[in-house]
């Protein structure tokens, strides 16, 4: 499988997650979101960028409480909760947002 971005076909796994994190560029997120009928707002980008920063430091996506706390700081306390994150990413911030950010899918009992 793959996704076409800027004229290049980037390899993805069965579920559409990027095979190689280094292939990511912002247009990847835009293209993936378009496929799922999501229009990326600035707030979506705050989440995506935070996920990428966190991943770079810790080699894993942030736990939900780490994410909600960080987003609460950036976007205001009323948005620092998983309800808001699910509004942004209906399929779940853990999975959908990770996919757009080019991170591997969180695995396990989640």
């Amino acid at each position: 499988m793959g996704i076409e971005v800027n004229g290049k076909v980037l390899e993805t796994d069965e579920e559409g997650y990027l095979a190689d994190l280094n292939d990511w560029e912002p247009e990847v997120a835009t293209a993936m979101a378009k496929d799922e009928d999501v229009e990326l707002s600035e707030n979506h980008w705050e989440v995506i960028n935070f996920l990428r920063e966190y991943y770079e430091e810790y080699q894993i996506a942030p736990a939900v409480r780490v994410l909600t706390k960080a987003i609460g700081k950036k976007l205001g306390p009323d948005k620092g909760n998983s309800k808001y994150l699910y509004e942004l990413f209906p399929y779940g911030p853990g999975k959908q947002a990770c996919k757009y950010a080019g991170l591997p899918k969180p695995t396990g009992c989640v």
């Binding site: 430091e57 080699q59 894993i60 736990a63 780490v66 998983s82 695995t107 009992c109 989640v110």
Partner: protein, 508 residues
């Protein structure tokens, strides 16, 4: 919302008429070579695989007497046919436990029984073929090792053991399941199913310490890799990562705080769940379990306590001694291992915890017995403790509690629909349909008793219900951790030096 038909919940559940091949299109993603090799399995279908299937089957029937007894003793009485949540939810007759077993049994008969060798057609015996293998792959994964069928089988045949054996056979010829095998590889490489490395765990736990102190004014600690601690808590990595799991973890920490326990978690054994069991692999199950032993020795602990994790508790309660024992270095005055519900229950009995139950008055609770806790383990020192202890903990912290109908709880409990290696997005249709019996039972107490929330003590149950309850008109936050209820009601009376807590905390 779904690209499949979501079943309608019935007020009085009806056994559905069967629909041939209703789920024939459904099977999990196959593990690629990079997920097979770390577990010691070939990366793709091996040459001469039919022979290898027979060899592995022969090996397993010699290693596990139960496996052969189960294959030999079925009399096709039909008692199990309407007991599997996957049959009840999908109507596919191959999801009847007896039919699931027969997929394997027909090959076993051909090779290992007199009648099957000489009169195969008379006894429905067939040779191994690619079609049979594909059918195994589709129908021997939709079994959540929940053992409900075995409760009703007059011979006690446990379909779960047959499904697990089938997965081991398939893995051994190079046809593994991506979800389970990728995860087991992460445990070997990093220490837990999620792949949370030590620095991420530390960062997450520090964040939780800040959060609890902000909420309560009390410095409740979440220690990691603390040498010389008395208690090692082994909990599913979902407890660090996901909701509502993390609220349970906060509950454990508050209980440990209030009982003055010197406890720790371990980054080496940062996973309670043991997916080796899901794929029926003794070797992998043992390798995962050994990490707990290594951490216990390294940290010098005296006790091991398991967090809320259903299949983990089965492995811990039933197999930990043979997998990773002997545990003669632990304190013999405590059960090895102990469940967090036992720990909290004991503390309640000893009068060590104070609760403000009114904090949970906005909820009316029910309790989902997780299948592997219910039917493959026990708690406490009395039969049925695995049913009474979690309920007594809930009732100690909540004023409003109602059980779901008797035929859906206790040893008759329905699986959440996501257990035993099924909790993956590629099996979402199966998961939603498999949750139907539980959703019906929940709906009955929601309608009749005004139940608002359901508690569980299994990471898989919590994630599964979070995802599938909305398909049936519930909300994702109606599933909670048992220790989340404890956390909300507990009155923190000590600061970290053991003296009385500041006044602001007791206002909580």
């Amino acid at each position: 919302m779904a690209d499949f038909e979501v079943p309608e919940l019935e007020e009085i559940p009806v056994i559905p008429k069967y629909k041939d091949g209703a789920m024939a299109h459904s099977s999990p993603y196959i593990a690629k070579v990079q997920f097979q090799e770390p577990l010691g399995y070939p990366g793709e279908l091996v040459e001469n695989w039919e022979e290898k299937v027979y060899e592995k089957m022969d090996d397993l029937r010699k290693r596990y007497r139960s496996f052969q007894v189960y294959l030999d003793s079925c009399v096709k009485c039909g008692a199990c046919t309407d007991k599997c949540h996957y049959y009840l939810g999908t109507s596919d007759p191959k999801n009847m436990p007896v039919a699931r077993q027969d997929l394997l049994r027909k090959v076993y008969r051909r090779k290992f029984t007199f009648a099957g060798k000489y009169f195969p057609k008379l006894v429905g015996a067939v040779d191994m073929s690619k079609d049979v293998l594909d059918e195994w792959y589709s129908y021997l994964h939709p079994c959540s090792p929940c053992r409900r069928c075995s409760v009703y089988c007059p011979y006690g045949i446990d379909t779960a053991e047959i499904s697990m054996a089938a997965r081991e056979i398939m893995d051994s010829v190079g046809v593994g399941m991506k979800y389970c095998n990728e995860i087991i590889g992460k445990v070997y490489k990093i220490g837990n199913n999620l792949g949370l490395p030590q620095p991420a765990l530390e960062d997450t736990l520090e964040g939780l310490e800040e959060e609890v102190e902000e909420d309560t004014g009390v410095a409740v600690k979440f220690p990691l890799d603390k040498k010389g601690a008395d208690i090692l808590l082994v909990t599913p990595s979902a407890d660090f990562f996901a909701e509502p799991h993390v609220d349970g973890l906060i509950g454990y920490a508050k209980v440990f705080h209030e009982t003055g326990a010197n406890w720790t978690m371990s980054s080496h054994a940062s996973e309670a769940g043991n997916f080796g069991m899901f794929i029926g692999s003794y070797e992998n199950m043992r390798k995962v379990a050994r990490r707990i032993r290594e951490a216990a020795i390294d940290l010098g602990v005296k006790r091991i306590v398991f967090g809320e994790c259903g299949h983990a508790w089965r492995v811990a309660y039933s197999f930990l001694n043979t997998l990773a024992g002997p545990w003669d270095f632990l304190d013999p005055n405590y059960p090895v291992p102990q469940h967090i519900c036992e720990y909290t229950h004991d503390a309640i009995q000893a009068g060590k915890l104070t609760f403000d139950k009114s904090q949970n008055d906005w909820r009316t609770m029910t309790y989902h017995d997780s299948c592997n806790v219910a039917r493959a383990s026990r708690m406490g020192d009395k039969p049925g403790g695995q049913f009474t202890i979690p309920r007594e903990v809930i009732k100690a912290v909540c004023n409003n509690f109602h059980d779901m109908p008797a035929e859906t709880i206790g040893e008759a409990t329905f699986c959440c629909g996501g257990g035993g290696g099924v909790l993956t997005d590629d099996l979402m249709e199966l998961r939603v349909k498999g949750a139907k019996p539980r959703a019906e039972a929940l709906k009955s107490v929601v309608n009749e008793q005004g139940v608002t929330h359901m508690a569980a003590i299994c990471a898989i149950c919590k994630s599964q219900f979070t995802k599938v309850l909305p398909y049936y008109g519930f909300t994702m936050d109606q599933i909670v951790s048992v220790h989340q209820l404890v956390s909300d009601a507990i009155v923190l009376t000590k600061n970290d030096s053991g003296a009385a807590a500041p006044a602001s905390a007791s206002d909580e």
